[in-house]
């Protein structure tokens, strides 16, 4: 069954305290080369039949992401 992947991250201008907390933990573990962490969401959708790009774009941009604060990337199956 075709899988469609949607990645959602906070826009660069929106601060990400969760990512900063992860960065702090990495520093305490000695990973000094990591400069920045941005945390996001990864959705995997299984779709019946051929995925409809317009429909999936609408799902990604109106439900899976909040366009006020988040950027979204849609990855359609490649075959």
């Amino acid at each position: 069954m075709p899988q469609v992947v949607v990645d959602v991250v906070l826009k660069p201008e929106i601060s990400d305290p969760q990512g900063q907390a992860v960065l702090g933990a990495l520093g305490r573990l000695g990973h000094d080369s990591i400069r920045s962490v941005r945390q996001g969401k990864h959705f995997v959708l299984e779709v019946d039949g051929t995925p409809d790009e317009a429909e999936l774009k609408q799902i990604a941009e109106t439900l899976l992401a909040n366009p006020v604060i988040e950027d979204v990337e849609l990855h359609l199956p490649t075959d």
Binding site: K11, E13, I14, S15, P17, L63, L64, N66, V68, I69
Partner: protein
Amino acid sequence: MRIGVITFPGSLDDVDAVRAVRLAGAESVPLWHAEHDLEGVDAVVLPGGFSYGDYLRAGAIAARAPIMQDVVDRARQGMPVLGICNGFQVLCEAGLLPGALTRNGHLHFRNRDQALRIERADTAWTHDYATGQRIVVPVKNGEGRYVAAPADLDRIEGEGRVVVRYVDGNPNGSMRDIAGVTSEDGRVVGLMPHPEHAVEDLTGPSTDGLGFFTSVVTAMVAA
């Protein structure tokens, strides 16, 4: 004067909101998220809580509940709507209010009595206050940090859409100390603090919150 209070799966403060509505002198009408029926109410309150466990984003799934289509349609025609805490998150997710609520800047849940300044005393829900008035009501949230892009914040401020602002300390890192905003027509108001928990001396830090509920009653009687 009939005011509906919508219960979603995971709402917590619906009973307190119902009580505040009654103390303000209105009839409270419990409404259920899965219905398409506002039962002819004159105004609606979206209460606090953790609808759908805050899955996806706080308020995101509740904003797509069947009854919310009716709330959005009626709000666009001028019906007063008040969103408290999770209800504020739902109104932002439903596109009725600008901006978004995200994880608190310090990552901690904050639960305390909070001082606020009333910035707009001419909305449907704040008529009974004075501009600049200081009130104290509880605040309790983990995802209450109000954010928007800088250009959008400038627009929101420029249009006078900020209704209440945190004073004496910002509990969650909200941009520009914004605690609540309103729609262009001043009929829809959302705020993170909880006026419904400050309506009786026995249980609240003050009775400062009652004004939100009496305001809408006054506004409807005058209309």
